[in-house]
Symmetry: C2
């Protein structure tokens, strides 16, 4: 099957219908899809906060004030809101948790295979630590999950609005993320567009294939 028609059909929803709620089974599917997103060396440096109730979404919406007020209604009118977070550090506890999960899932036929995996992941983590871009590297992995989420929402006929416009520091404080070693990077409104969503009526625009592809000879 082909996802291109879903990629073309989706858009960043600018106005949600607050009366329509995503069924629990559909949210569960989206969560499972995100959880199975790929990440470099299976590092999974992410965490996802799901806000469903009016009160929970209101807590997230506070981080749109004062500088990003135009994003507030996309949180308060959405059915569900997902806050994508990354770890502040790729610490030993997390690396061990991933390794032990892989062991429990049966990926290692021998202790040697387990050590190889540990060393490979450690090599890349240290490489990014030395380059001083560990945070940026972890954020990129979360964007892999975001890409998976956005196309996945489209296939489930769910509208989405990913937002980088919010006060991350304020949201981290409101949700107690900092003390959990996490920081918020993207807020995604999920639900169903309202009749007044102007973006749904506009044609999609992308640079031409000639502009974005080079065929190497």
């Amino acid at each position: 099957m082909n996802l291109t028609r879903f990629a073309k059909a989706r858009h960043a929803t600018k106005s949600f219908d607050p009366a329509r709620k995503i069924p629990a089974a559909v949210i569960d599917e989206l969560k499972e899809l995100i959880r199975f997103s790929p990440s470099s060396v299976n590092s999974q440096p992410w965490h996802f906060v799901v806000a469903q109730s009016d009160a929970a979404r209101a807590r997230v919406a506070k981080s749109m004030q004062p500088g990003y007020a135009y994003n507030e209604a996309k949180v308060t009118r959405a059915s569900h809101v997902l806050v994508l977070c990354v770890r502040k550090d790729m610490d030993e506890a997390h690396l061990n948790a991933v390794l032990e999960q892989e062991a429990a899932d049966g990926r290692f036929a021998s202790d040697e295979a387990k050590t190889v995996q540990q060393n490979t992941r450690g090599f890349y983590v240290n490489l990014h630590r030395e380059r001083d871009d560990l945070s940026a590297w972890m954020e990129k992995q979360a964007f892999l999950a975001l890409g998976t989420l956005l196309i996945g929402a489209s296939t489930l006929e769910i509208d989405a609005c990913p937002m980088e416009g919010f006060d991350a520091k304020a949201l981290d404080e409101e949700l107690g993320l900092a003390e959990r070693g996490l920081t918020s990077i993207v807020v995604v409104g999920l639900g169903y567009r309202s009749a007044d969503d102007f973006n749904a009526k506009l044609p999609k625009s992308r640079l031409s294939a000639e502009a974005v592809f080079t065929e190497l000879v």
Copy 2:
């Protein structure tokens, strides 16, 4: 429809069957899917180099030597290789190209709407310029495209191996990317796994839902 089964079925292919080639129509579908990936404020700060011939893939494979020799065969044995690149700068020429494409595609009912879009995009570009994370921001957008590509390949029954392990500076030089204002960030082998791809036989592993989700009250 539901992508979760594709997310669970895919894996990072460690060994490709060099005899099997992806049909041109399938590659065209993947390219169209990537081209329609979302990006923050529709910035599309990316470029994709497609290497198909043995000679073209050999040029890409050079960047795996000497430090990442274990990735070399994933390039030389793949059917196609995609090099994901980002711009070195989000300059006025690119911003204008995106704006004029949007105008040509009919997204602006008025000059005012066009100016609003130009200002919104400019605000976020300047925000990241001030934060000194413009490159990291552009790379994150490319990872949105990578997430879309990996799940999209799975739905088309194409195996993929995304690699961050290569000498980006050497590859930029080999492909003449620097003088085009681009830099390579990920190399993706695409094709069909061979019978000796050990990773295809291992169970997939992810952290538990309890570990990666918080339900906000």
